[in-house]
Symmetry: C5
Subunit: 327 residues, 5 copies
C-alpha cells in the first residue's frame, strides 16, 4: 500500500496524492516536501521507487529485508535510517518491535514498513502543527518522525518496569504458597524483553548521536538542538533498560533465595513433626513388647497414663522446637 | 509558587521580589543577579517566564515534565541543567530523589522543581556568605547551588552504606534463627537504592566534568577549580555507590550460602535424631514379636534390660554422631 | 587441489585455467583478474605460489597453519585476510568453522583453505552476475567473497537462536518429568557455540571496519559503501550473539530455580505423605500395647472403629495439607 | 602536631625546625627545601599555614576533611595530592587505609594526616640517602614519598593473597567437618578488603599516570622515569587486586558447590540408613501380628531365624547401597 | 651463571665468550651483536653489568626483583622488557611462569632470569638459522626471542583447554557416582590458571602492540611486520584465555545444577522407597492390635493373605512412582 502526502512549503498546506504518477512531478519541485509511505510493498513497487528516486541498490535491498539493525547511513543523495517502533500487544503483553526504513533527502521522505504502525497518524498531525518550521527543511520532518517513535517507547518501558516492580513487591508480602516457579518464568520473560529493547535502543541512541553531531546540507543547524532532545530521551530509555536488566538479575537471585528459604522452613517443620511422631510411636512400641514381667502393664490406669505420656511428649517437643524456631 | 530574589552586585545585598512585574526590570539590569525559584509552577506560569526570558521551547518542555535525565545543555543564551537533590525519608527510609531544572544565563538563575527542597534555604545562606565573589558572575551562584545539592548526597549514601554494613555484621554473629528471608529482601531493597542513586550520580558527574572542562563567556575561569571540587565529590560518591553495588552481590551470595548452611545443619541434626529413634524403635519391635520360643521374654528383668539397651543405643549413637559433627 | 579462474575485464568473461603454467602469464596481464583457490595445498605448492606472487614469508606461514585469528594485514603488495566460514553440521548439529586465508592484490585473489567450502560455488556465481562492476577492481571480488561468507552465518545463528528459544519455551509448559539435567547440558553446549561464534564474529567485524574506513589504491572508493553493508550485517550478528550469550546465563539460572522448585514440591508432597503414614501408624501402635486394662479392646466394633479412625485421620490430614498447598 | 624539616640543597644536610616561626624564612629561601608534616592539625593551624603558603581555600578544605578520593590537582602555585597509606592491623587483621594530603610546590612539601603513619620515618631516611639528586627539585622528594607509600601496599596485598590461597587450599583437603559457613564469611571479608584496596589503588594509579605524562616546571624531566617506576608498581598492585577479586567470586561459588555436595553425601547416607532400618523394622512388625495361624511363630528357632534374617537384610542393603555409592 | 655469545655480523658466525673480560671489547664493536644471558645472577654481578653497559638504576632494580609486571620501558640508551615464559610442569600439571628481563640496545641483548629456561636453546638455534637478516639490527634478535617465548604458550593453553573440555565431556556421560566435588575443585584450579595466564598475556600483548606501532632507531622498519605477527599470536592466546575463563563460569554453574539434579533424583527415589516401606509397615501394625474382635485374625490363611497384601501394595506403589518418574 502506497500513500503519498505532499506539503506546499509556501502555503504550508498538506495534500494527499491520489495518482502515483504525481510523484515524479512532486519530487523535483523545490516548493514541495514529499512524504511517501509504503506499507508492505512488493519488490516491484520498491524497485520502481528506487529507480524514480535514484536510491542506492544496497539501501533498497536493506529495505526489502526485515530485521535490520537500527542504523543511519549516508549515501550521495540521501540518508538511509532504520528505526523501530515499539508497542506492547494489549492482550498477550508481547513486546512488538516494528521496523521502519526511512529514506530522507532534501525534498522527500520515504518510509517503508511491513505492518501498519499507528504512530504514523500521530506524526502527520504533528507536522501540520509544526508547519511554521517547514522552511528549515526536511530535517524537521525527520525530527517529528523520530520523536514520535521514541515517545512510543516510554509507555512500553513503563509497563515493563511496573511488571518488574509488581513481582518484587510480591516478595515483601508473606507468601503462603509456592510461587517461585511462576516468578522465575515471569522474570525470565521480562529480562528477555528488556534485552530485546536494549538491542534496538542502544543503536538508536547512536543514530541520534550521529544526527546531533552531524553537519549536513540536508539539515538546518537550528534542528540540531531538536535531535539532541530526542537523544536525551532515548539515553534516558537506555539507562532505564540497563538499570532494570541489572536489577532483574538480583531479583532472580532473591527469588532463588526466597524459594530455598521457603523450602527450608517447610522441611524443617515437617521433619520436626516426624521426629515428634517417632518419639510418640516409641512409647506404644515399648508397651507392645511381650515380656512376662512388665509391671506397668498391670497397673489399672497404665494405658491412660501412657496416653497422657504421649500427649505430654508431644506438647513438650512442640514447645522445644518452637523455641528453636523450627516451627 | 514563585519566589524571586535579586542581588545587587555592587552593594552585595540581597532583596526579595514581592511584585513579579519587577522581574522584567531586574533581568536587564547589569548590576543585578536575579534568582527566580518556581515551585510546582503551572504550565501558564512557565510559558510566561519562557517568553519573558526567551527560553527555548525544548528546554521549557523538559522543565514541565518530571523524570528527566541529569544533563547539561547549552542554548544560545543560557545553560539548561537538570540535577537531582537526594534525601532519605526519615520514617520509611525511602530514597527520595527530587528533580531540579536550572536555567542559567549571565544575569539570572531560574530554578524549577515540583516539591519543596530544603537545600534551597541553605543555598541562599551560602550566597550571602560568598558575596565577595559575586563579581565572578553567575557561575559562583551555580557552584553554590550544585555544591549544596551534592553535599546532600553524602548523608544519604552514608546511611545506605551503614545499613549494608549492619546486615553484613549480622552474618558474623551466630544466628539461631532463620533470617535469610528478611536479609535477602533488605539486600534487594538496598541494591535497588544504590542502582537508583547510580542512575543520577553518574550523569551528574558528567555534568560537572563538562562544567570543569568548559570555556564559556558565562563562567569566569577562576570558577573552574570550584567545579572541579564538586566533580571530585561526586566522583567519590560514584565510587562508593559502585563499590557497594558490587559488594551487595557478594553479600547476597553469602546470604544464600549461609542459609543453605543453616538448613544443612538443621536437616542433618534432625535426620540423625530420626535415625536414633528408628534404631530405638527396632528393639521394642523385636520384643513385640509373638514367637513361642523367645527366651529373653521370660527373663525376670528382660524388660528393664531392654529399656537400658535402648538408652545405651541412644547414648552411643549420639556420641558417634557428635564425633562426625552431625549434631 | 589448485583451481584457477581468470576473468577478462574487457569482455567480462570467466575462464578456468587448466594449465597451472598459465598463472604466470595471467598475473601480469592488466586486463585480467585472477582467482586461484587452493584446497588443502601441500607446503611445496604454497611455497611455489609464494615465490610466483612474491608473498611475504610471514603471511605464507600463517596460511600454512590453521586456527589463525580473523585479521586483515596490509603488506607492501597485497592484503592478507583471515576469515571463517560457518556451518552447522546437518547430523550432529556441531558448529563447523572453516578458516579461509585470502591474499588480495590489484590483480589477483588467492584463497587457501583446508576442507571444501560450499560457499565458494555461490561466490563464483555472484561474480558472474556482478560482472559490470569489475572495472572497480578486485575490491568487488573481495566484497562478493566476504558477503557470501557472512550471509552463511545467518542460518547458523538462527538455528542456535531457535534451539535456545525451544529450550526456554519448554520451561513454560508444565513439566511432569525431571529434565533439568538435559536442559543444563544443552544450554552449556549452546553457550559454548555462541562463545565460539563470538570469537570469530567480533574480530571479523573489526576487519570490515578496517575495510570501510580504509583508503587504499587497491579499492575503488565506490566499494566502501559495499563493505559498510557487510559491516552492518556482521554487527547485527555480533549483537545477536551477545544478546543470546547474555540471555543464556539467565536461562541457566532459571533452570536451576525451576529444578529446585520441582524438587521442593516433590519433597514436600512426599514428606507430607510420610507424616500422614506416621500418624496412621500411631493408632495401631497404641492398640497393639499389652495393657491389661484397655477398655476399647473389648468393644465389639473397636477394631472397625479404629480402622475408620485411621481413614478419618488420613482424610483430615490430606485436607489440611491441601489447604497449606503441600500437596 | 607540626614537625618541620628543611634541607640545605647546597650542603645536602637536613635540619629540624624547632621554632615554627622559622617556616616563613625557610619557605622563601631558594637554597632550601622545606618539609612540614602536620599530624592531626587543628583547623586554626591549617588556616594559618594556608595563609603562610598561600594555599587555595578549596585544597585546604579538602585537607581538613578525611575520606577524600585519591587525586592530584594542579593549582596556580602548587600541586595538591591525596594519597593513602595501607597497613594491616597486626592483631585484628583489619585493613587500615590512612589518608595523607600533600601540598607540593617548588620549595616546599606539606603533608597533612590524622593518625601517625610509620612510613614517614622511612621516607626521611630515603631522602637522606638520595641527597645527591636533590638539585632535581622537590619532585624527587615526592617520588621518595609516594614510592615508600606504594611499597607499603605490597605486604598488605601479599597477606590478603595468602589468606585467599589458604582458604582455597583447605578446599582440596578432604573436610570431615562443616566449614562452609566460616569460609563464606572469610571470603566475604576478603572480598570487601580487596574492594576497599581497589577503591584507592585504581585512582592512585591514575595519579602516577598524570605525574608520568606531565610536563611541569616543578618537576625536572629526569624524574619522569622514576614516577613511571612507581606507576608500574601500582599497576601491578591493581592487577593483583583485580585478579583476586575476580577469583574470589569463583571461590565463593566453589564453596557453595562443596557445601551442597557435602550435604548431599550426608543426606544420602542418612536416608539410606533410614531405609535399612525401616526394612529391618518390617520383619518384627510382621511377626508381631496376632494371626492364629502363623506357622513360623511355632518354630523352635523362628525367633533366632528372624534375627538372622534382619542381620542378613542389613548386610545385603549395605552392600547394595555401597555399590550405588550411597554410602 | 653468565653465558655470553657474540655474533659477527659480517661473517654471520656465532661465538661463545669464555672470558668475561671480552664483554667490554665486544660491546663497543659495531660489527658485533652481543648476547649475554644471566641465570640467577648475584647482586654484584648485576651491578657490575649495570656499570659496564650504563644501565639505569631503576631498570637494574626491576631486574633484581622477581614478579615484575610484563612491560616495555624506553630508556635513553636501551629498552627494558619484562616477559614471561610459560610451561606446565610435567608431573604436577602446575602452571610455571618464569620471568625474563631483557635489556636491548643497538649492540647488545642482555637477558636476566632466575631459573633455567629451556626456550633459550631453541632461541639460539633460530638465530643461527635467521643469520641473513642480522643486518636489520638487534630487533631481529628480540623478534626471535619473543616469538619463541610466545610459541611456548600454545602447548600450555592447549593443555588447559583440553582439561576443560575433558571435564565438560564427562558431564555428558551419565554419571553413576558423585563427582561434583572433584569437578568443582578441578574447575577452580583451571580457572585460577587461566586467570594467571591472562595476567601475563594481556600486558604482553600490549608490549607487542607498542613494538609494532613504534618507530625507533634501534629497530629497522622491516621488522615491524614481524612484531605484528607475534602480536597476532598473542592476541589469539588472549582471546582463547578469555573465552575459556568465561566458559568456565558456565561450566561451574552447570556442575552445580547437575549436582543438585543428581541429589534430587536420589532423594526422590529414597523418599519414595521409605513411603512404600511405611505403607507396608502399616499392615502388620494393624494386625498386631489386640482387639478381641478382629475376624481376620481367625481366618486360616489370614497371615498369608496379609503377606500378599503387603507384596501387592509394594508392587502397586512402585508402579505408581515409576509412572510419576520418581524412580
Amino acid at each position: 500500500m502506497i500513500r503519498g502526502t505532499y506539503c506546499d512549503k509556501k502555503q504550508q498546506t498538506f495534500h494527499s496524492i491520489t495518482d502515483l504518477n504525481e510523484l515524479s512531478q512532486c519530487k523535483d519541485n523545490d516548493d514541495i516536501f514529499l512524504w511517501v509511505d509504503l506499507q508492505d510493498p512488493t519488490k516491484e513497487e520498491l524497485a520502481k521507487l528506487g529507480v524514480e528516486f535514484q536510491l542506492h541498490p544496497l539501501a533498497l535491498e536493506d529495505a526489502t529485508h526485515e530485521h535490520q539493525r537500527p542504523k543511519i547511513e549516508e549515501y550521495d543523495n540521501f540518508y538511509f535510517v532504520v528505526f523501530y517502533a515499539a508497542h506492547l500487544e494489549a492482550e498477550t503483553g508481547e513486546l512488538d518491535l516494528r521496523e521502519i526504513d526511512i529514506f530522507l533527502s532534501k525534498h522527500y521522505l520515504l518510509t517503508v514498513h511491513e505492518k501498519p504502525i499507528e504512530d504514523l497518524k500521530e506524526i502527520q498531525l504533528r507536522w501540520t502543527r509544526n508547519a511554521q518550521q517547514l522552511h528549515w527543511g526536511t530535517g524537521i520532518l525527520l525530527y517529528s518522525f523520530l520523536d514520535t517513535l521514541v515517545d512510543g517507547y516510554f509507555p512500553v518501558v513503563d509497563a515493563l518496569v511496573d511488571q518488574t516492580e509488581d513481582i518484587e513487591n510480591q516478595f515483601y508480602i508473606r507468601r503462603g504458597q509456592l510461587r517461585e516457579r511462576d516468578t522465575a518464568l515471569k522474570l525470565l520473560t521480562l529480562r528477555k524483553r528488556f534485552l530485546a529493547l536494549r538491542r534496538v535502543v542502544t543503536p538508536q541512541r547512536d543514530i541520534l548521536n550521529v544526527l546531533t553531531d552531524h553537519d549536513s546540507p540536508i539539515f538546518d543547524e537550528r534542528i540540531n538542538v531538536y535531535f539532541r532532545d530526542i537523544y536525551d530521551h532515548i539515553a534516558r530509555l537506555a539507562d532505564t533498560v540497563d538499570l532494570y536488566r541489572d536489577q532483574l538479575s538480583s531479583t532472580m537471585d532473591a527469588n532463588l533465595t526466597l524459594a530455598s528459604n521457603e523450602l527450608n522452613k517447610v522441611m524443617r517443620t515437617m521433619t520436626a513433626a516426624s521426629i515428634i511422631l517417632m518419639v510418640d510411636a516409641l512409647v506404644p512400641g515399648i508397651y507392645g513388647m511381650n515380656f512376662e514381667n512388665m509391671p506397668e502393664l498391670k497397673w489399672e490406669y497404665g494405658y491412660f497414663a501412657v496416653l497422657f505420656l504421649m500427649l505430654g511428649l508431644t506438647i513438650g517437643l512442640v514447645v522445644v522446637f518452637r523455641r528453636l524456631r523450627w516451627f
